[in-house]
Symmetry: C2
Subunit: 262 residues, 2 copies
DNA sequence: CAGTCTGTCCCGATTATCGGGACGCCTGTC
DNA sequence: GACAGGCGTCCCGATAATCGGGACAGACTG
């Protein structure tokens, strides 16, 4: 029994909160029985029984024919698949990006990770209003993860195994404007993960500063990142710190809107 | 305004039915206003207003900051993505396959389509109890769509554009045990689509009969099919007809469990 | 065949939903 | 600047739901 879930169900006495708790329970496990789910949620058996059966009547859940256990039904399956299909990172991120970009008044880029290619591509950008500003260039082009804060903002927050596999496949020292020993890259990634964001100077483009933070989807996977970029003649340590706070906050907001729970 | 949806919402007076109707409305459109949604569903404005705001309080929906419009919120996004992620065709199909295979007592195979490769692979099978029986062979191997009822059960039901692209890429005549003019293949596919299932004789394996019907996911896309196979010394027209009925019914059940609405 | 697990069901008290209508707000338009 | 028509919001008495403790029947097990 998960105390957090039980608390959440008990804290809000509104009838709907129970429905949400019951349906959300099926994100943890495929099948639930009445008593089982009732103790898991800390709710009376009769209440769970009623909700479960009403949900079956609505097609949200389905009762297994023999045992009295319940699974996800047609209506909920449809809702889940169609909504998940419509859920689009770009449109969810856009308003958050505009606010964040305006707050610092520097260019902010949205990049998405492709686990298959082990690369990323920028898919959207909000440019700063400065006459001299960071411009990503053509969107939807693939780039490697190991150079620049855009890539490292993803790489640093991938699961250890995945990150190791990518780093281990690189030559040692890692090529780039300034060749870096693999061990040094690993240390940088570790620090970035602890800090929650990445800062880089002139790795991808000379004279550019980059600050990035990861975006996660509802399953917790890192799916991309947000990246601030500006020319280093407008740079100072305080600005880097502010950019870090803003980009972490913005990335967290996008993750939350996508259903991620920290 | 969609009369079907409105009818569905009005038909069931249970409070939950309204909640389901409201949430399902977000599968049609990204944003809804109170009045807008109320007339769409044929419900009183006050009811929709209450449901919408309570849903926001639960995190299921989110209110756009400026306008009073509503979108999918964190909790619903999470529910959708995680459930869609957990939803597994194989485990959903298995019980249906076992019943259907037992009813005809012949081997029944589940095949999944890969739109990227434009091929399919068998991922599960329930074998018949006959000593001489159809056996698919190793699972998870890719095969082309244009030969045998397993592939045609998918190909025949793909959208016209997609089907045309695949057929047009084939040589004319189409190679196989019995070379077929492309026009003849197109006619076969058209007939199969009208009938709802595919019947083939010895196309993939000599001496084998195959009968298949398509499986669709919640978005209506054809994602694979179910295929009966048996040796032709156990065949007769009546059996083919029975197999057609059974496989169409089974495929429809799997599609429904995945959230497909005809 | 008792012990223990399961799901099911009943019923009075509680509490939410229900929905028609009034209200305030904003945005156009004449 | 008045007015119409769109919007979301809110109120409140009547209705109908949820609520939950507890009793019950069946299935399984040792």
């Amino acid at each position: 029994m998960d105390p957090a879930t039980a608390t959440r169900a008990a804290a809000d006495t509104a009838p709907m909160a129970r429905w949400v708790a019951v349906l959300e329970a099926f994100t943890d496990r495929d099948e639930w029985g009445v008593r089982d789910l009732a103790t898991h949620l800390g709710l009376p058996r009769s209440a769970v029984h009623r909700i479960l059966h009403e949900a079956v009547r609505q097609g949200l859940l389905a009762a297994a024919v023999t045992t009295g256990r319940f699974r996800v039904g047609p209506a909920l399956a449809r809702l889940a698949v169609v909504l998940a299909d419509r859920l689009d990172v770009r449109s969810v991120a856009r308003p958050v990006m505009e606010r964040a970009a305006a707050e610092l008044d520097e260019t902010l880029v949205l990049a998405l990770y492709s686990p298959g290619r082990r690369q990323f591509a920028a898919i959207d950008a909000v440019e700063s209003s400065h006459p001299i500003r960071y411009i990503w260039g053509p969107l939807r082009q693939w780039s490697d993860l190991h150079t620049g804060s855009s890539g490292k903002g993803i790489l640093a927050f991938l699961p250890d195994e995945e990150q190791d596999a990518i780093v281990a496949a690189l030559p040692d020292p890692v090529p780039g404007p300034v060749p870096t020993p693999r061990a040094r890259l690993r240390a940088e990634l570790r620090d970035a993960r602890a800090r929650g964001h990445v800062v880089s100077h002139g790795e991808r483009f000379p004279g550019a500063v980059g600050v990035s933070a990861p975006i996660r989807d509802a399953t917790g996977r890192v799916i991309g990142d947000l990246v601030f970029g500006w020319p280093d003649n407008r740079n100072d340590p305080d600005k880097e710190a502010r950019a870090g706070r803003i980009v972490m906050d913005a990335a967290a907001r996008v993750s939350a809107a996508l259903g991620y729970r920290p």
